[in-house]
């Protein structure tokens, strides 16, 4: 990194950094600021369905900041409960992804190069079809008269169908299934770089395989785990499609609230306020992730 820095002049550096920055500002920051703006306006019938923040009439500039959306979020316990439930579901999904994904990523990284490419391909393969189709497929599998129940009943393992479809369990299955590759890939990238001689050194110094894993592999792959966990946790909090299609009526997730406010109630300011609070909630883990990444870079120096 340092060598790359010294080779580029200050102007070249600006030129290299500028395009992605402009892109991020246009695609991410500007729309978000618009959402922030809408969250402070009043609901109104018309196009757009919200009042402007600033009005200029007869030489008077009138700024109206409505806190209605935020007040409602705090006063209605349903919103608070939904936030907490979204965080809980995202956390459980992330933990499941870690428990399933770590051994998978580990085995892929340790397999011989030819099998490794095939296994990686298998991890990425689901992306070749749309998420919606894959979630519909899960509906077909999990329904009371679906594939899973039919097979289990045909085998005589169960007498009556398992009630999975339209429960939180179905949502967890869908979320873990959909986000597992996002955990495996960054972790794999860390594990495959891991020098096998470090493990041999640990064995050589008397560490049994399990101890060697705990004291060498695990700490050295920590950042891969964090990166993968963030890639699962952050989008899962706001996930809409999977809880909507697989979850029951009482599966509370913030994405569904946003959808309801936006499309059913046409309450754009409320939907915007829900979104802004969610982004604030997600900034905390993001900041932690950033902190650990910076710390690792500093340690290397």
């Amino acid at each position: 990194m340092a060598r790359l820095h010294s080779r580029l002049s200050a102007r070249q550096r600006v030129l290299a950094i500028l395009p992605p920055y402009v892109w991020l500002v246009l695609i991410s920051l500007v729309p978000f600021l618009l959402v922030v703006k809408i969250s402070f306006s009043e609901m109104e019938f018309g196009i757009p369905p919200y009042t402007p923040l600033a009005e200029f009439e007869e030489g008077v500039l009138r700024l109206t900041l409505s806190l209605r959306g935020y007040m409602m979020l705090l006063s209605d316990s349903l919103y608070v409960a939904t936030y907490l439930n979204s965080l809980k579901m995202a956390a459980i999904t992330t933990v499941c992804c870690i428990l399933i994904g770590y051994p998978l990523a580990y085995c892929i990284a340790r397999s011989n190069p030819r099998t490794r490419n095939f296994l990686l391909f298998a991890v990425v393969l689901p992306f070749w079809t749309s998420l919606l189709l894959r979630v519909y497929a899960w509906m077909g599998i999990l329904r009371n008269d679906g594939l899973l129940n039919n097979v289990l009943m045909a085998l005589g393992i169960i007498d009556s169908p398992l009630e999975i479809y339209r429960t939180d369990l179905a949502v967890y299955i869908g979320l873990v299934y959909a986000y597992l590759p996002f955990f495996i890939l960054p972790l794999y990238a860390h594990l495959v770089k891991l020098d096998e001689r470090l493990l041999e050194a640990a064995y050589d110094l008397g560490a049994r395989p399990w101890r060697a894993f705990l004291s060498v592999t695990l700490p050295l792959s920590r950042n891969g785990v964090i990166a993968g966990a963030m890639l699962v946790f952050i989008p899962t909090v706001g996930e809409y499609v999977i809880p909507e299609l697989l979850g029951g009526a009482n599966t509370l997730m913030i994405g569904r609230i946003m959808w309801t406010e936006f499309f059913n109630n046409t309450d754009w300011p409320m939907a915007a306020a829900v979104t802004c609070v969610m982004v604030l909630l997600l900034l905390v883990p993001l900041a932690l992730f950033q902190y650990s990444g910076v710390r690792e870079l500093e340690e290397r120096r």
Binding site: D195, A201, D204, L205, G206, R208, E299, R300
Partner: protein
């Protein structure tokens, strides 16, 4: 697979004598269709510094990894101090290794790296602290105890790696290409330093290297390996002065080979008919060859004298033209093309030659060597 020999090797736990502290008995290793190590028998003495020398792919690293326990043996057995280690996993062997690029744990401090092995044994905390401190003191790294390996130079990392592999007081220390990650300038000093520490600790040590100079500087005895077999085993002097095979003669230092046939035999000398030389070559040792036998004669460059005038007292001489001269500071290296077209390499100390006697490029010169400068080799 190691059970295939099945000659009750577990029962033989007799105490080892001084000469067979480490016993490598008929050890072979197969990777798929490739025999990496064919059949190796070696005994290493207690407190000896032993070098396995060979070019890459000769099987020396595989042998070392079998000693550490990272590779299982296909057949044969490995005995250390009377204890059969063949089927013992690496984490239970009283053997520690200093890895080629040190393999220090990057997320641990120097201190924690050195303490790691002791922690696995469940050594009491106070004892760990004292022994880590002593080990770091031995390699003069105490002031860097709190640093991470990434903040150390290559030489400092090597010292930490050495401390880490010595702190458990192993019966056998393995060094895998100990100097390969160091700059050439500090290598020689480090070699001597490393030998000093190893002797101070009094540990038996087997090292692997491809660098013959390194092996000769550091080791008490050298085993030259090629193609999965040990070609010759002996002190640096024995291996250099009396190479057993053509491979060893060519691998250790440089040499000139002459193919010839024995045409005359006397009690103290044989005469060799060499197609590339105008006269028969006189050889003073190599008794045991019989008349008419095809042999290879090896003559080291430093035993060949290049002169402008005909040498008076040399047994073997011939004429040639200097085709290349290299000045290497302490000595000059001549390439001389003989009348037969063969190019002979000779090296002469540069201080011993007066300028008017010094052969220059394209000079017609005499090259000569004495009868005892020649080593006869079977293929």
């Amino acid at each position: 697979m190691s059970e295939t020999l099945g000659n009750g090797h577990r029962s033989s736990a007799q105490s080892a004598g001084p000469d067979d502290f480490v016993q490598i008995i008929d050890v072979a290793k197969r990777f798929g269709d490739v025999m990496a190590v064919r059949q190796v028998n070696l005994n290493v003495r207690r407190n000896e510094l032993f070098a396995l020398l060979g070019s890459s792919g000769c099987g020396k690293s595989t042998l070392l990894r079998m000693l550490a326990g990272f590779e299982t043996v296909t057949s044969g057995r490995i005995v250390l101090d009377g204890e059969d280690l063949t089927d013992v996993p690496p984490y239970r062997r009283p053997v520690n290794m200093m890895f080629q690029s040190y393999a220090l744990f990057p997320h641990m401090t120097v201190e924690a790296n050195v303490a790691f092995g002791l922690k696995q044994e469940g050594t009491p905390r106070n004892e760990i602290r004292d022994r880590v401190h002593a080990a770091l003191e031995q390699v003069q790294m105490t002031q860097f105890a709190r640093r991470k390996p990434g903040q150390l130079s290559g030489g400092q990392q090597q010292r930490v790696a050495l401390a880490r592999s010595l702190v458990k007081r192993p019966k056998l220390l393995l060094l895998d290409e100990p100097m390969s990650a160091l700059d050439k300038q500090i290598r020689q000093r480090t070699q001597i330093e490393l030998v000093r520490i190893i002797e101070e600790v009094g540990v038996t040590c087997i090292m692997v290297t491809h660098d013959q100079e390194e092996a000769m500087t550091m080791a008490d005895r050298i085993a030259v390996m090629s193609d999965g077999l040990i070609q010759q085993c002996g002190t640096p002097q024995e291996v250099y002065e009396h190479p057993a095979t053509r491979f060893v003669a060519g691998f250790i230092g440089s040499t000139n080979f002459f193919q010839g046939r024995i045409v005359d035999e006397a009690p103290d000398r044989v005469m060799l008919d060499v197609a590339e030389l105008p006269h028969a070559m006189v050889v003073s040792h190599g008794v045991g060859e019989s008349l008419g036998m095809e042999v290879t004669a090896s003559v080291r460059p430093e035993k060949i004298v290049v002169t402008l005038n005909k040498p008076a007292r040399l047994d073997n001489w011939t004429r040639g033209e200097v085709v290349h001269v290299a000045y290497l500071g302490s000595h000059l290296v001549y390439q001389v093309r003989l009348e037969s077209g063969k190019v002979v390499e000779a090296s002469m100390p540069s201080y011993s030659l007066l300028d008017e006697h010094k052969a220059e490029l394209h000079d017609e010169v005499y090259v000569g060597w004495s009868a005892d400068a020649v080593t006869l080799l079977r293929e």
